[in-house]
């Protein structure tokens, strides 16, 4: 079923191409090759990037929730998104100094620093207790990073629009070179996440039980955090800030499949991929000639589902 939904995404995006028949009619000369060019050079990399972004963010959400035992843990809630945004903003505004780093690296470093700060402040490494504190720390750090980002945008006005586009999270600019830079990191991150999933299962039993069953907790948390930075940094670097996927998709997958990380992680990856691809497709369809940022669409899809889950059971 998921495979079909995944496949249907390709057809969906080619259906949204069909309004382009109008465009083709305008450029009547050589219509076939242009349609093909659009599909091959614009649509295909865009869909692929969307799928990968969804997969990476979903996997990152699964790892973060698994490591912290906090159902709200996700890149956007625990400050990774905001930190990455700040990193990006720094790179694009204070160019001479930070410009040497790529945007992806900047996003990773910013996100990593913000997340470490949140984990320290919220004592996130001690699992089990004081779950509220972690989220509070995440919200606080996110707010701080967002404020700094805004300040940078105001100071450096000429770069502002790029940063704002990035903050909204849009796949408009996803091209083959985006995909080429993205997929190796994504594949490493996703493979790592799958290898980590048996240990994540044991972590759910609490630190004492996990250690007792032979899990090296420090090692798992270190590797897990590294994978999160890889997955989130690569996604954010490719398309900008996209929230809700990391928070929501792990819960959707758990609802469908149960609590075994080995089984729901692949489902979460598929769901996340489908969701972002769907959101991107809709982002073109809603106000047709214009594009709505995919991030906004995701929030539109995500919020009702989240409310439904909160109402249905205690997260």
């Amino acid at each position: 079923m998921l495979l079909i939904s995944w496949l249907s995404l390709f057809t969906w995006s080619s259906i949204t191409i069909s309004p382009l028949d109008a465009l083709q009619a305008l450029y009547q000369f050589d219509q076939d090759s242009i349609a093909q060019h659009i599909v091959r050079d614009l649509r295909l990399p865009r869909v692929l990037v969307a799928l990968l972004v969804g997969a990476c963010l979903a996997a990152a959400g699964v790892i973060m929730q698994g490591l912290t035992l906090n159902p709200l843990a996700s890149p956007s809630v625990l400050g990774v998104n905001a930190g990455a945004a700040l990193g990006m903003a720094l790179v694009s505004t204070i160019t001479p100094w930070f410009g040497l780093l790529g945007t992806t690296m900047a996003a990773m470093i910013g996100g990593g620093l913000a997340w470490s700060l949140v984990m320290l402040l919220g004592s996130g490494w001690r699992t089990g207790n004081e779950q509220g504190r972690l989220v509070l720390a995440g919200v606080a750090i996110s707010a701080l990073c967002a404020a700094l980002t805004k300040a940078l945008v105001i100071i450096e006005e000429d770069q502002a629009s790029a940063v704002i586009t990035w903050l909204a999270g849009s796949l408009t600019d996803a091209r083959w070179q985006t995909f080429d830079a993205f997929w190796p990191v994504a594949v490493v991150g996703l493979l790592g996440a799958s290898l980590l999933s048996p240990s994540l299962n044991l972590l759910q039993l609490g630190d004492d039980n996990a250690r007792n069953l032979g899990v090296s907790i420090g090692f798992v948390k270190l590797i897990g955090s590294f994978l999160v930075l890889l997955l989130v940094g690569a996604s954010l670097g490719a398309v900008g800030s996209i929230s809700f996927v990391g928070l929501l998709v792990p819960h959707m997958a758990k609802l469908l499949i149960g609590q075994d990380h080995r089984r729901f992680l692949p489902i979460a990856i598929l769901l996340g991929a489908s969701l972002v691809a769907l959101a991107d497709t809709l982002s073109r369809a809603i106000i047709f000639p214009m594009e709505t940022p995919a991030g906004a669409i995701l929030a539109l899809i995500g919020a009702p589902f989240f409310i439904y889950m909160v109402r249905k059971k205690t997260l």
Binding site: L202, N212, L213, Q259
Partner: protein
């Protein structure tokens, strides 16, 4: 001696609760750790299972410091059942018990035929076979305790460490558990358990270790350890020692 401590001090937040303990835990016995609340018996047990890092001294397994042994390897030697356990969401009883096999399974955590047999066996021994398909979170406290015990037993370790395993259990399950520990002991397991009930300890254990304020006050056979003076000095209890009419073990009766 397989498990021993050298000048072990361990505690929380820089504060030592167990102080300079030298201890050899005799192999092949059922050993009870006794003492008033806060005496450090649970802390000692956690240190023995490397859940706490010593502040001074060390715990040794076959002459080697615990922290130098790879965690997975150690998890095949020593298993601990903590006193309080979380209530895992959405995990079935049989799946939780299967997690006990993790130290033996490969990278993906898949269980093989032999693992399944052990899982089946420990679920029978702990009387939870009929709960296999239920969610752990929907069980009663006593049932859940037996599920966690089954998981610990599935680890199939020569050393079994239990922290007040009889808490939350009905009396009949407590007795069943003590008999189960006896059986496991006869199969060759060394069992170290914190117990609250002194009479239970005297009746079912071979070796008692009595602690107070982080130190070991007395250890040995129940008949040697349980005296009027000890009960008074350690538990501030005026009690007489009688002989259990059935098991012929010492039994304390409060005056």
């Amino acid at each position: 001696m397989s498990l021993s401590t050298q000048q072990l001090s361990v505690g929380y937040h820089q504060k030592a609760i167990v102080k300079h303990i030298d201890l050899n835990l005799p192999e092949g016995k059922i050993i009870a750790l006794l003492g008033p609340n806060g005496c450090g018996k649970s802390t000692l047990l956690k240190a023995l299972a490397r859940l706490l890092t010593p502040m001074q001294g060390e715990v040794q397994w076959q002459g080697k410091a615990l922290h130098k042994i790879p965690s997975k390897q150690l998890a095949r030697q020593i298993a601990l059942l903590p006193q309080t356990q979380p209530i895992p969401e959405g995990i079935k009883v049989k799946d939780l018990v299967a997690y006990g096999r993790s130290p033996y399974t490969g990278f993906w955590g898949r269980t093989n035929q032999a693992d399944q047999e052990i899982i089946h066996q420990v679920m029978q021994e702990t009387g939870i076979s009929e709960l296999a398909e239920q969610l752990v979170s929907e069980l009663s406290g006593g049932q859940r305790q037996r599920v966690w015990l089954a998981m610990t037993l599935a680890q199939d370790t020569p050393y079994l460490l239990l922290d007040e395993p009889t808490t939350y259990m009905d009396l009949n399950h407590q007795v069943e558990l003590m008999h189960l520990l006896r059986r496991l002991n006869q199969q060759g397991k060394t069992i170290i358990t914190v117990l609250h009930d002194i009479n239970q300890a005297a009746r079912y254990c071979d070796h008692l270790i009595v602690m107070k304020e982080g130190h070991i006050i007395q250890q040995g056979l129940p008949t040697d350890v349980l005296t009027r003076e000890l009960l008074k000095s350690v538990f501030s209890l005026e009690a007489q020692i009688h002989q259990d009419p059935i098991a012929k073990t010492p039994m304390c009766v409060v005056e």
